[in-house]
C-alpha cells in the first residue's frame, strides 16, 4: 500500500444479504469442483502483490547474523538520481543504538554496506551480539550524506553468553490478566459446524476395496490444460514460475546466493572495541543521525511507450481480439518472473507491466532504470486510434512518442542495468512467463498464439504463456473499438 488514504465505504452486500444482517441466506452446498476452481483461480491470479509498499526490514538470524530485505519503487530511485549530480551508491546505513555506545560527537555510530537491487535481500554478518540497530536504505553521496528512501524497524541482536550482571531481585508472581469470551459465533450461522454443512458431500472410502484407482477428480476448466491436483501442477499448465515438475521455492526467493557481507565501511567505530559487558550508561541512548528523506510519494515509474518494430511481426507474443472496447479493458497485466543464472549464482528479477485504462503504460523492472539505460521497451501498436492522445510522462532519456525505440535483448538490459549482473556477461539463461488477465465481453473471442483464450461468464480471462528465448518483447493487448481486427 502506498499509504494513500482511501475513502471509507462499506460493502452493502448482495441482494440476498443486506449489510448488517447476521443471518445470510444459506447458499447451496459447494461442490468439490467449485471449491477447487475457486482455490486455483485465486492462487493463480492473486499471489503477487504488484505494488508492495517501500520498506526495509531487518530480522535477527542469530547473535552474529541478521537478514535484511528491502523494496523500493523505481520512481523513487529515478527521482533521487534526477536530483543528484554527484557520484552515489545505494547503501544500507546501519546505526548502532545500543545504550551508552555513542561516538565522540554524541551521535550513534554507523556503518554502510553497499547493496544493489531495488527489491532484494541480504544476510549480513555483524561483529558483536547484544547490540541494537536501526538501518536506512538510501543513496550515499560523495560527502557521505544519505538520501534516504526508507528506514527499517529496530532490532536487538541477542546476547550469546551469560550476563555479568549479578543482581538478585525477587518479586511476586501475580498470575495472568483475566480475559473474557469474544465473538458471537456460538449463536451465529457462521459457526464452523454451519460451514461444514455447506461442504460437499463426502463419498468416503467404500469403493476403494473394489477399485481404488477408479476414483476420479473432476477437472476445473481453465485455459490451456486440465488441472489434476492443486498441489501438483500439471505439465501442460505452466507451473508457478518454472517449468519444473516440482516447483522449488528456492528459485523464487529474493537474491539467492548473494554474498554474506563480512566487511563494511565504518564511519565511526568506538563501539566495536568495547566488550559485551562494558559499563553501559543506559540513559545515554544515542541520537540517530539526521538523514535526508526522499520526499516524493511512491508510485509507478512511467515509461515512454514506444513502437517496437519486431512487435509487428507474427513472432512476438501476441493476443488477438475481436470487438473489444477499451473500456472493457480496465487493466491488462503482463507479469513475468525471470530467473537467470550467471557463474553459478542465481538472481531473480521481476517484471511487471501494466497498460492502464487511459493507455498510459507503466512498468517496474529492477534491471532497467532511467539514467542507467532504459532498455525496457513497452510497446503499444502504432495504429492505435488513441495513441496520439495518450498522456506521456517522459522518463529522463525517453524518446518522444511515437518515435520507434529499438528492442534490446534482455541480456544487454541486465548487463547495463542498475542490477549489475555483470557488464561482461553474455551468458544468461532466461525464462520469461507472461500472465495475461483482463476483461472482455463474454461473447467475445480472444486468441493467444493462435490458441483460443477462454473468457468466463463475467467476461474475465486469464492465461499464462512461456516465451521463447530472445529479445524481450512486451506485446500488449491491442483493442480497437467496434472492429474485428486481429492484432499480431
Amino acid at each position: 500500500m502506498s499509504g494513500k488514504k482511501q475513502k471509507k465505504h462499506r460493502a452493502t452486500g448482495s441482494a440476498s444479504s443486506p449489510a448488517g444482517t447476521a443471518m445470510p441466506v444459506d447458499p447451496a452446498a459447494f461442490s468439490q469442483k467449485e471449491l477447487r476452481k475457486l482455490s486455483f483461480e485465486i492462487s493463480s491470479r492473486w499471489f503477487n502483490n504488484e505494488q508492495p509498499a517501500p520498506r526495509l526490514t531487518l530480522s535477527v538470524v542469530n547473535p552474529w547474523r541478521i537478514h535484511a530485505f528491502w523494496h523500493i519503487n523505481p520512481d523513487m530511485m529515478a527521482q533521487a538520481l534526477k536530483t543528484s549530480d554527484t557520484p552515489h551508491a545505494l547503501v544500507i546505513r546501519f546505526t548502532d543504538l545500543t545504550p551508552g555506545q555513542s561516538g565522540k560527537t554524541g551521535q550513534a555510530t554507523s556503518f554502510d554496506i553497499e547493496v544493489d537491487g531495488l527489491n532484494n535481500n541480504w544476510y549480513i554478518d555483524l561483529w558483536q551480539p547484544g547490540r541494537r540497530y536501526v538501518a536506512e536504505l538510501g543513496l550515499r553521496r560523495a560527502d557521505s550524506t544519505l538520501r534516504r528512501f526508507v528506514r527499517s524497524n529496530e532490532i536487538l541482536v541477542p546476547r550469546a553468553e551469560p550476563s555479568t550482571a549479578l543482581e538478585f531481585n525477587l518479586a511476586q508472581y501475580k498470575g495472568a490478566k483475566p480475559i473474557s469470551r469474544t465473538g458471537t459465533s456460538a449463536n451465529s450461522s457462521y459457526s464452523v459446524a454451519h460451514l461444514a454443512r455447506l461442504l460437499p458431500s463426502f463419498g468416503g472410502f467404500p469403493d476403494v476395496l473394489s477399485d481404488p484407482t477408479s476414483q476420479t477428480i473432476e477437472e476445473p476448466e481453465f485455459p490451456g490444460a486440465p488441472l489434476k491436483r492443486v498441489q501438483n501442477w500439471d505439465a501442460e499448465i505452466e507451473p508457478p514460475f518454472e517449468d519444473d515438475a516440482t516447483p522449488s521455492p528456492e528459485r523464487y526467493r529474493y537474491g539467492k546466493d548473494f554474498p554474506v557481507i563480512q566487511f563494511a565501511t565504518i564511519n565511526e567505530s568506538p563501539a566495536y572495541a568495547t566488550g559485551n559487558d562494558s559499563p553501559i550508561d543506559f540513559e545515554a541512548v544515542p541520537e540517530l543521525p539526521e538523514t535526508d528523506p526522499l520526499t516524493i510519494a511512491p508510485g509507478n515509474l512511467t515509461f515512454e511507450p514506444a513502437v517496437v518494430p519486431e512487435f509487428l511481426s507474427p513472432r512476438a507474443a501476441s493476443v488477438s481480439g475481436t470487438g473489444h472496447k477499451p473500456e472493457n479493458f480496465p487493466q491488462i497485466n503482463i507479469d513475468a518472473l525471470d530467473t537467470f543464472h550467471r557463474e553459478g549464482k542465481q538472481l531473480k528479477a521481476s517484471l511487471g507491466i501494466v497498460l492502464n485504462n487511459d493507455w498510459s503504460a507503466t512498468a517496474s523492472f529492477p534491471g532497467a532504470l532511467p539514467g542507467h539505460g532504459n532498455k525496457l521497451a513497452i510497446n503499444v501498436p502504432a495504429n492505435s486510434p488513441t495513441a496520439s492522445n495518450r498522456p506521456m510522462k517522459a522518463s529522463p532519456q525517453a524518446q518522444a512518442w511515437p518515435a520507434p525505440k529499438p528492442v534490446i535483448a534482455l541480456e544487454e538490459t541486465m548487463a547495463e542495468s542498475f542490477f549489475s549482473a555483470g557488464a561482461d556477461n553474455r551468458d544468461l539463461n532466461l525464462s520469461v512467463r507472461l500472465e495475461l488477465t483482463g476483461t472482455a465481453g463474454p461473447d467475445k473471442a480472444l486468441t493467444l498464439f493462435g490458441e483460443p483464450v477462454e473468457i468466463d461468464e463475467q467476461g474475465q480471462f486469464y492465461v499464462r504463456v512461456k516465451l521463447d528465448k530472445g529479445p524481450l518483447l512486451a506485446a500488449l493487448l491491442r483493442a480497437q473499438h467496434g472492429t474485428n481486427l486481429e492484432a499480431d
Binding site: S14, Q32, S43, A176, I179
Partner: protein, 527 residues
C-alpha cells in the same frame, strides 16, 4: 522441600483441511496423531485420574489443533479413516493367521484401533477437547495453548500487530473452545525475543517457556540457573527447558526411543507388501505411505530387522522410566538445601512424539507418572501453575532471545530455503492493519466484516511456522509452498474486493468454508 518436575507436552499440527478433495494425504497427519498419540494419551491420563493421580503433566493444545479437533467435517473424515484402518486390521489378521508372531501384532493393532474408535465415537462423541478439559478441571493435567497458527514470533516482530494477533487470537480461541483461560502459553518453537513478554501479558497469559539459553543468558544472570523460573520485569513468569531430561528423550543417539527393542517407525506394510494387497489403503491407490502397521523392532544400526516383541519392549519401558526418574531425583538432590524457591525441572516435548514416532512413548509416560508417586517426599510431578502458586517469589530478570530450533535462534525459520516468505508476511500484516482501520465501523455479521475476518484468517494461516519448517527440511516442501501461496493469494483477493466494494458472497463463503477456523476472529487484534 521436594523438587518439582513439570513435563510439558506440546500438541500441534498445522491447519490442514481440504474439502475440495475426497481425501488429502496431509489430513492423515491429524488422523494418525489422534489414533496413535492423542487418544492413547487421553486414555492413559483417565486411567491415572481413576487411580488418584494429580498434576501429572501440562498439555499445550495449539489453536489450530483445537480447531481441527472441534471440526465436524474432519471428525467425519476421521471416521472414514478409522473405518479403513479397521478394515486393514481385519485383513492383516487374516493374512498373518499362519505366522503367530505377526498375528499377535496384527491383533494388537486391531485392538488399539478398536479402543480408539470406542473412545472417540462411542464414548466421547468426538469431543476429545472436552475430555482433556475435564482432566484439567480434575487437576490431572494443566491445559495451555499457543499462538493462533503457530507463527514464529521472533520473525513476525517487525510488524508487532502480527505478534499481537497471533497471541490474542490464540488465547481467545482456547477460551472460546474450552471455556478456560490458559494460564500459560507455548511460544511456537520456543521462539522468544526481548520484549515479547509484554504481548504475552496483554493476551492474558501468565507464563511461557524458553529454551535453556533463554534463561542462562538472561540479564541479570539467573541465580538458580535452570532450576527455577524467572520473572520478567512485567511480572510474567518464564520456564527454561532442562537440557538433560530433554536429551534423554529427544536424542537420536542417547535417547530412550532409539532402544533396539522398541518398534521401528519406518518399516511399514505400506511399503513392504505387494501393491495389489495394500493399494486400497494407501494414497490414491498408487502412492505408498505409512499405514501404522509396523511389525519390526529397531534391531540395530544397519542390522536386518527382527520382529517386534512387545513384552521385551515393556521391559525396556520400565527400565527407561526408572532411569528418567532416578536422574531427576539426583538433579533435585543438588538443590535440596534450598529453603525458599523449590528446585524445578522443566521437560518439554512434542506430544506427537509419544505414540506416533515413539510407539511406546505413552506407556513410558505412564510408567514415569507411577514411579514418581513413590518419591513424594523428595520430588513430585507438577504443572507450572501449581509450582507458581507454591513458589511465587521469583528472581526478576530479562530472558534472552532464543528458540529451540537448530542453532538456538531463528536460523531454522529464516534461511535461503524459506526467506522469500517474510516480505509477503510483513506486507500483508501492514495491509491488514490498513484494512482494519478503513473498515473499523463494519458491523459484525455484515459482508464487509466477514471479508475482513476472512482476510485475517488468511494472514494468520500464511504465518504458520510449519510452512517455513517444511521448506527448510524438504518434508512436504511443495505442500508448504502451495499453502503459503494460497493463503497469501486469498488475502490479496480479499483485500481487493474489500477496497473495491466488490465482495462476492458466494466466493467469500467458499473461502470461509475452506478455511473454517477462528469463527470469532476479532479484526481489532490486527491493528
Amino acid at each position: 522441600m521436594p523438587g518439582y518436575h513439570c513435563i510439558v507436552l506440546h500438541a500441534h499440527l498445522p491447519y490442514i483441511r481440504h474439502p475440495e478433495y475426497d481425501s488429502f494425504f496431509e489430513e492423515n497427519w491429524l488422523f494418525e496423531a489422534l489414533t496413535e498419540s492423542y487418544i492413547p494419551l487421553l486414555n492413559m491420563l483417565r486411567r491415572k485420574q481413576q487411580d488418584g493421580y494429580r498434576h501429572c503433566l501440562t498439555l499445550s493444545l495449539s489453536p489450530t489443533l483445537l480447531s481441527m479437533l472441534e471440526d465436524p467435517f474432519l471428525r467425519k473424515r476421521f471416521r472414514k479413516h478409522l473405518d479403513k484402518m479397521q478394515l486393514l486390521a481385519e485383513q492383516e489378521v487374516k493374512r498373518t493367521r499362519d505366522e503367530p508372531r505377526f498375528l499377535n501384532l496384527a491383533r494388537m493393532y486391531q485392538q488399539q484401533l478398536q479402543t480408539v474408535s470406542d473412545t472417540f465415537f462411542n464414548e466421547l462423541d468426538g469431543d476429545v477437547v472436552g475430555a482433556f478439559t475435564e482432566l484439567h478441571k480434575a487437576n490431572v493435567i494443566e491445559l495451555i495453548t499457543s499462538a493462533a497458527t503457530h507463527g514464529f514470533l521472533p520473525l513476525l516482530k517487525a510488524e508487532p500487530a502480527s505478534v499481537r494477533a497471533q497471541l490474542k487470537t490464540g488465547a481467545q480461541t482456547f477460551y472460546n473452545i474450552t471455556v478456560l483461560q490458559a494460564q500459560g502459553v507455548w511460544l511456537p518453537e520456543c521462539g522468544y525475543y526481548e520484549g515479547l513478554e509484554a504481548v504475552v501479558e496483554d493476551a492474558g497469559f501468565g507464563y511461557f517457556f524458553v529454551d535453556s539459553h533463554g534463561i542462562l543468558n538472561s540479564k541479570p544472570r539467573p541465580y538458580y540457573g535452570l532450576s527455577a523460573p524467572l520473572l520478567c520485569p512485567n511480572g510474567v513468569a518464564v520456564f527454561g527447558r532442562d537440557p538433560g531430561s530433554s536429551r534423554q528423550v529427544w536424542s537420536r543417539d542417547e535417547g530412550y526411543p532409539g532402544d533396539f527393542h522398541y518398534r521401528d517407525f519406518y518399516r511399514d506394510i505400506g511399503f513392504d507388501l505387494e501393491m495389489d494387497y495394500i493399494s486400497p489403503f494407501i494414497l490414491d491407490g498408487r502412492t505408498r505411505i505409512h499405514t501404522g502397521f509396523k511389525y519390526y523392532r529397531i534391531t540395530g544400526h544397519d542390522a536386518e530387522k527382527e520382529v517386534y516383541v512387545p513384552e521385551r519392549a515393556r521391559e525396556r519401558i520400565n527400565k527407561h522410566a526408572d532411569d528418567f526418574v532416578k536422574r531427576a531425583l539426583a538433579q533435585h538432590a543438588q538443590h535440596e538445601s534450598r529453603d525458599t524457591t523449590a528446585s524445578l525441572i522443566t521437560s518439554p516435548y512434542d506430544a506427537e512424539l509419544f505414540g506416533h514416532w515413539w510407539f511406546e512413548g505413552t506407556d513410558w509416560l505412564e510408567a514415569v507418572i507411577e514411579r514418581y508417586s513413590a518419591y513424594t517426599d523428595s520430588a513430585l510431578l507438577s504443572t507450572p501453575s501449581v509450582y507458581l502458586a507454591q513458589n511465587s517469589m521469583l528472581q526478576v530478570a530479562e530472558p534472552s532471545a532464543s528458540s529451540w530450533g537448530d542453532g538456538g535462534y531463528n536460523a531454522f525459520w529464516l534461511n535461503e530455503g524459506n526467506d522469500w516468505i517474510y516480505p509477503h508476511l510483513h506486507d500483508t500484516s501492514k495491509r491488514m492493519q490498513a484494512l482494519v482501520e478503513l473498515f473499523h465501523d463494519a458491523e459484525p455479521g455484515a459482508l464487509t466484516y466477514r471479508a475482513l475476518q476472512q482476510a485475517g484468517r488468511s494472514q494468520l494461516l500464511a504465518q504458520a511456522s510449519d510452512w517455513a519448517f517444511f521448506l527448510k527440511t524438504g518434508t512436504a516442501q511443495e505442500y508448504a509452498y502451495n499453502r503459503t501461496r494460497d493463503h497469501l493469494a486469498r488475502f490479496n483477493y480479499l483485500e481487493n474486493v474489500l477496497r473495491n466494494n466488490t465482495i462476492d458472497e458466494r466466493r467469500l463463503q467458499a473461502l470461509e468454508a475452506m478455511d473454517a477456523i477462528f469463527p470469532d476472529l476479532v479484526p481489532e487484534y490486527f491493528s
